[in-house]
Symmetry: C2
């Protein structure tokens, strides 16, 4: 029955980050509103002040914000006309993977909770926006591969399959990666970027 003093203020970002964390640990359905609330020292009811539409709205926001965050780096590289396809590919793979290792809870949500979104959430505006953004993200990778093939720099792979192959491998990193493992996020990202470049050698 109280408002929090200013120095303990809780905002949207805090909640989303907490939610992503809880989702990673317990999955969307295993995550209680009370769990998420506790993570930011609130009670379940309070979350509805920030997200009137409740748990689904939180999921939606986690995914939309998360995807955008992961997309940002990649978009920049693709839009740089000075870069050749091979260098572009190396960099988007590297940045994508590094981003996922730096935000494991987002990475896990993008893999596992996208399915929840498809299953549980109505076809709202926000949902469609997310799915579209997801398609565009895939397109970035596809375009780089295509352009490399056109320029004769890459082996003429099936672009759709190769793109899915890359993205699947990348997403999986978010599933198995743990901080403090044998290799750093940077090392993993570099190793995988080289791998896919070799796979594209003519």
């Amino acid at each position: 029955m109280a408002r929090k003093p200013a120095d303990q203020a809780v905002n949207r970002i805090d909640i989303l980050s907490a939610a992503a964390d809880v989702f990673r640990r317990k999955g969307y359905h295993g995550a209680k509103m009370a769990d998420i609330a506790a993570e930011v020292k609130l009670t379940a009811g309070s979350l509805y002040h920030h997200f009137p539409d409740g748990k689904q709205q939180i999921l939606m926001a986690v995914l939309n914000d998360g995807l955008e965050q992961i997309t940002d780096n990649v978009r920049e590289i693709v839009n740089d006309p000075a870069l050749q396809p091979d260098e572009q590919l190396r960099r988007i793979v590297y940045e994508h993977i590094l981003g996922l290792t730096e935000h494991v809870s987002i990475a896990a949500a993008l893999v596992f909770e996208t399915r929840t979104l498809l299953n549980d959430l109505d076809n709202t505006d926000a949902r469609q926006r997310y799915l579209d953004a997801r398609d565009r993200f895939e397109l970035y990778f596809r375009q780089v591969v295509e352009s490399g093939i056109e320029k004769g720099m890459f082996h003429p792979v099936d672009v759709a399959i190769f793109t899915k192959t890359m993205l699947g491998a990348h997403n999986w990193v978010g599933v198995w990666y743990r901080d403090g493992g044998r290799l750093s996020g940077e090392e993993i990202a570099e190793e995988m970027a080289e791998t896919f470049l070799r796979a594209l050698r003519r």
Copy 2:
């Protein structure tokens, strides 16, 4: 309030296959016992005759049976001493992917519901058996890569990362593959096998 005539008999396999299907469509938590039961023309209560421990037991069985099914082909190839690493790799990749496309609901379960198992199920015997089998499965891939490197046939990649890269890409096929798409399971499997072989060229 009756037993089924013999020609409508329902067995364990039917139920597990139905369950895997429902899990794929709605996810474990979205799948009601009644949904699974309906799929085989039973009611929810009847499932407890076949699986006394209920939903969790069904999940456990779907995963254990499913993994075994997917593993079988691969194991054979790895144990064939007449095959060279490159040919072995081509075949295990091909068979693994083909198996996943032929059993999409199992494929989806192995990706998404393994997480459910980790989150929701107690550390029972069956659970551990599954996780061990999963590790062994990964080991098959790892061994082939290792032996290829030792024999100087493969580029000296980081074996752990390369293996995870392959498995991530494979698993992802189970997420996006749809019957009747542009390419058949065979075509996809072949394309991806070639891709990973190129990535291993010295």
